[in-house]
Amino acid sequence: MIHLVRDVLDSQLLARRGLKMGKVDGIVLELREGAAPRVAAIETGLVPLARRLGPGLARRVERLIVDRGLPVNPDLRIPWAQVRREGIEIRVGIDAETSPAYVCERWLRDRVIGRIPGA
């Protein structure tokens, strides 16, 4: 048995090779006619995080990221089938490097941090 809010929401996401890929910022349930709801996916990104503080904030954050083209991951959905729970962490079979969840990390590394001597 797994408690979604306690054991999944806000847990550390580990991608392939153990790269840290953010936190589980949201959980998506599929509501089915005449059947119990089913977990469809987990979400990570600034928009699902903001949505928890208020839907209005989430819309504004999303517009800001999209309009300005900010190097930030707005929202990445990972199907529940790819999710494994390992101890207190959540492992997903995704390559973080090429994933949208790493937009900010890549941008900072390539444009800023990686250009400083000794990086």
Partner: protein, 341 residues
């Protein structure tokens, strides 16, 4: 297909409040530490402290950028032993044992009660700074790869270390009481503080004070900066670590870079580091409930700590201290600010 998101399931955004509050207060703490090093350099050279802030910030940043965790941990602790000078001074001043004993008992202030409690709260805040939780978990437990076998050693080190620190702090108080009080000196500026070691240690006392101030603050600045970066990176789930190459933890490194720069800007404004330190520590005490109570939950959760949950004595003491500290802080900070120091 109808989808329902977790915003409708429940809200667990508890982390955002401690993150913001502890983050802001810790930034002030960092500014006080950078200010402290700059002040030591001012005492040594005569050049005003704000001018030193960029160099100090750069030195902190460079050590974090190039250094590994071991270098920072052992280097700073070894150099920090210079603060033992205060114990030497306290012993050489030959305090009366009966007076010392009486000083150990808490007493009510005879004058300026608001200011007295403000300073008391600052000392409490300085003793239980929440950044240390993030720092020790990250640095020790993860970077040094501790396991359950380190638990006993850690208890010993924590007890001895805290007693050592407390002893040092007591020595500073004893020296201050024996040197300043009989002469009727109420500290107005840091230049005056620098003289408290000269009575018993002569000219060397001045330089020992400068070295103690500079090294202790520099070490704290490194720890505080790392603690903020650890807290942000772990809270948001980024790659982090002082022992990995900066390019493999870009957001972590960007965080400490920005944090050091912001703290430097605060020092450059020329705000008195002594006053800033007192304020930062008092605010630390005020934020203890939001900063420490979440840890109390973790420390009592068998899911995370299995059979090592806190006992009721531990929980009781922690709760009592943070309640006392935060209530005193909430009362004394406004009084101090309104009263003007």
């Amino acid at each position: 297909m109808l989808l329902c998101q977790s915003s409708e399931l429940g809200r667990s955004d508890e982390f955002l409040v401690p993150l913001t509050l502890v983050g802001l207060v810790t930034l002030l703490v960092l500014a006080s530490e950078i200010g402290g090093v700059s002040l030591a350099l001012q005492l040594a050279t005569g050049i005003a402290f704000p001018w030193w802030a960029p160099a100090v910030a750069l030195a902190v940043w460079l050590l974090l950028w190039k250094g590994t965790f071991g270098v920072i941990e052992y280097g700073v602790s070894l150099l920090g032993l210079v603060t033992i000078a205060f114990v030497v001074a306290a012993v050489r001043l030959r305090p009366e044992i009966t007076e010392l004993g009486r000083g150990l008992l808490p007493s009510l202030p005879q004058h300026e009660p608001a200011h007295y409690w403000y300073i008391a709260v600052s000392i409490l805040g300085a003793s239980i700074t929440p950044y240390l939780f993030y720092y020790f978990y990250s640095s020790g437990a993860v970077e040094d790869g501790w396991n359950e076998g380190h638990l006993r050693l850690n208890r010993v080190v924590a007890t001895l270390g805290t007693s050592f620190g407390g002893g040092l702090a007591a020595a500073v108080l004893v020296v201050a009481a024996l040197v300043l009080a009989p002469r009727g000196i109420a500290i107005e500026s840091c230049e005056q503080v620098a003289l408290i070691l000269t009575t018993s240690l002569g000219r060397a006392g001045f330089w020992l004070f400068v070295a103690s101030l500079g090294i202790a603050c520099f070490g704290a600045a490194l720890e505080v900066t790392l603690a903020v970066a650890y807290m942000v990176a772990q809270g948001l789930g980024w790659n982090w670590g002082e022992n990995v190459k900066p390019r493999h933890a870009a957001r972590f490194c960007a965080t400490y870079t920005v944090v050091v720069a912001l703290a430097m800007l605060i020092v450059i404004t020329g705000v008195d580091p002594l006053k800033l330190t007192l304020l930062a520590m008092a605010l630390t005490a005020a934020t203890l409930p939001v900063a420490v109570v979440p840890f109390l939950f973790l420390m009592n959760d068998p899911f995370y700590v299995r059979e090592h949950c806190n006992g009721w004595i531990g929980n009781g003491v922690v709760l009592a201290i943070i309640l006392l500290a935060s209530v005193l802080a909430v009362v004394s900070i406004p009084l101090e600010i309104m009263g003007g120091s």
